[in-house]
């Protein structure tokens, strides 16, 4: 590829000194790119002149695999899409498939679904903030404090479903099995302990001058661009749009819970906004968890789904507010036990549309921070 100047950019030629642009491939093996993700950046000194994201290194063609197996057999593969949040991926798929058939999910299962989803949101935000601060250079300390909390929640997932990350817990019409004895009490203990961790974390980070100077004003995303580019999730709310699917769609039983949706006032959002919105969302999730743990009752956990899942020809689009954005599944059924078309709408991929816009003109170190604040997981980007 040529190192000629990108359009709309003038190289300043100094006396006797010939300058060219430096082209760097922040290649697939890179500790700060959150997976096998490559960015071809053209640099003038340290300023980013052009940036092209390249991905597809983890493409497994999950959509084609799902056309050859039954609906239930694709459920374990949805765990591996966004491998940090397997529970919410499962829920989005179960939601899309439940729209194809008439089935009622029992109340205890709905409460447990909300509990699992909010625990997943805590896991995801805590992981993301840890890695974000890691990219800034804090070299592991806040990351491992965050992972400490994540361990407790992963232990809860292991007791409920048998596996820490690839849970495969949701089924069409309910859940696979009920949580064991004492799980709700242990979950309550974890949730009660979490705000102390958040207070400590905020004390560690939110007034730190290094973080403030490196993230404020970096990566501005104006509101119109965010809406037009289809950005969703905390990134959208940091740019000033109050759009949260838990309040708009009210899937599941989210209409029974009182919670607030944090978003910034004003028209643009920078990295610091996205970081702080995630911290605030964690506090709201703790509120929802407390309400759900108090309101859950005994009952069945599986509705009357048919034994062989063979929906009539129909289409459905089921979407949820995943921790990274709007995760949607588009299913076309044609009367056979296998789906005709199975499509995943990945939030991480769509959020990457604005990466280049945010990074141009900044420094190369800022590009790493901006990528960290977008919150991508390559399993979802590439599927």
């Amino acid at each position: 590829m040529s190192t000629a100047a990108a359009p709309n950019y003038e190289l300043i030629q100094q006396e006797g000194l010939e300058t060219n642009l430096l082209e760097v491939s922040m290649g697939p093996h890179h500790p700060s790119t959150h997976g096998v993700f490559r960015m071809d950046v053209k640099l003038d000194g340290e300023t980013v002149v052009d940036l092209r994201p390249v991905f597809g290194y983890l493409h497994r063609n999950h959509e084609k695999l799902a056309e050859n197996m039954s609906y239930l057999s694709s459920m374990p593969f949805t765990d591996r899409l966004d491998y940090f949040n397997s529970m919410t991926n499962n829920w989005a798929y179960a939601l899309a498939a439940e729209k194809l058939i008439e089935v009622e999910v029992p109340e205890r299962a709905e409460y447990l679904r909300v509990i699992m989803a909010e625990l997943t949101r805590l896991v995801n935000h805590v992981t993301l903030i840890g890695f974000f601060i890691n990219d800034l250079g804090a070299l592991g300390t806040p990351l491992l404090y965050a992972f400490r909390e994540r361990e407790k929640i992963l232990d809860l997932f292991e007791q409920a479903s048998g596996a820490r990350m690839m849970c495969n817990y949701f089924r069409f019409g309910g859940l696979r099995n009920d949580v064991p004895e004492g799980w709700l009490k242990r979950a309550g203990e974890v949730v009660d302990r979490f705000p102390y961790f958040l207070d400590e974390y905020e004390q560690l980070l939110c007034e730190n001058e290094i973080i403030l100077s490196r993230t404020q004003g970096v990566g501005n995303l104006p509101r119109e661009l965010a809406i037009s580019a289809g950005v969703t999730g905390p990134m959208l709310r940091a740019s000033g749009v109050a759009y949260d699917l838990r309040k708009v769609d009210q899937y599941g039983i989210y209409d029974r819970f009182k919670f607030r949706v944090p978003y910034t006032e004003g028209d643009t959002g920078d990295c610091y906004d996205r970081f702080m919105i995630r911290v605030l969302e964690m506090r709201e999730s703790i509120g929802i968890l407390k309400q759900a743990l108090a309101g859950i009752s005994e009952g069945e956990i599986m509705g009357n789904a048919p034994r062989v899942f063979k929906p009539k020809p129909a289409e459905s689009y089921g979407r949820i507010e995943g921790p990274k954005g709007e995760l949607g599944f588009y299913l076309i059924a044609d009367g056979t036990p296998k789906p005709y078309r199975y499509r995943v709408r990945p939030p991480s991929l769509i959020n990457l549309t604005v990466l280049r816009d945010m990074c141009l003109g900044g420094k190369i170190a800022d590009a790493v921070i901006i990528l960290g604040s977008i919150d991508i997981v390559l399993g979802e980007v590439d599927r």
């Binding site: 039954s70 374990p76 809860l156 007791q159 596996a163 690839m166 004390q203 560690l204 730190n208």
Partner: protein, 224 residues
């Protein structure tokens, strides 16, 4: 009043608290070496010393909990494994397995009649993704999840293919590694058996009552 660098100093106070706490408050500050969520709440033994029976490698009970799952295993009810094996080679798990890692061949006796046992039951463990769908669809409670994870082998081309005899484990072993789940499964089997017995009894009762009625009518006919 805000000193330049005040935020950094506050952060360092947190780090110091965590550092000192890792010596004094292990439960809170170092949860990863302490699996305190065991079913009875007891703290586990030291890492490395786990009970092993001769010839049988139990799962490492100090670093793996009672709830975790790894790869499948076939259940038998004690004694000679192939006499009491529960699997009847119906091949439902083979059909439903998402990565298609199971291969089953039915067993036939000398006359060519199908006896309800698997002759070949292979699971390619390098492909299995521990999704547990085979356990869910089995109608005979014959396949459940093991939690053994020390399965590495230097043989790339066959070492990770588990054959039928490696996969057979007794129901007592299942109770040892997954006590709650095994108890629930045994209770379910017992309940189903009891329901079947009750149905058989009710049918027998009905047949007897019908036969008696018929005999009484026949006697009435004779008396007329």
């Amino acid at each position: 009043m805000s000193i330049l660098g005040g935020g950094i100093f506050k952060g360092m106070a947190v780090t110091l608290r965590n550092f000192l706490g890792s010596y004094t408050n292990k439960k809170e500050r170092l949860p990863t070496i302490d699996y305190s969520w065991r079913a009875d709440g007891a703290l586990p033994q030291g890492i490395g010393d786990y009970p092993k029976e001769k010839g049988e490698q139990l799962s490492d009970t100090t670093t793996v909990t009672e709830y975790s799952r790894n790869f499948p295993m076939l259940l038998h009810d004690g004694g000679e494994p192939m006499d009491t094996v529960r699997c009847v080679a119906c091949q439902i798990c083979e059909r439903e397995c998402p990565p298609q890692c199971i291969y089953i061949e039915k067993d036939y006796d000398e006359n060519g009649k199908y006896i309800k046992r698997p002759a070949v039951f292979d699971i390619d463990v390098s492909v299995c993704m521990s999704c547990q769908i085979c356990v869910e669809v089995c109608p005979f409670d014959a396949i459940v999840m093991n939690s053994q994870f020390e399965l590495s082998t230097p043989d790339r081309f066959g070492g990770l293919l588990m054959r039928r005899d490696n996969l057979l484990k007794s129901n007592d072993y299942y109770h040892k590694i997954h006590p709650e789940e095994a108890a629930a499964r045994d209770a379910k089997i017992a309940a189903e058996k009891a329901a079947k017995e009750a149905k058989k009894k009710a049918a027998a009762e009905k047949a007897r009552a019908a036969a008696e009625k018929k005999a009484a009518e026949a006697a009435k006919e004779d008396a007329k």
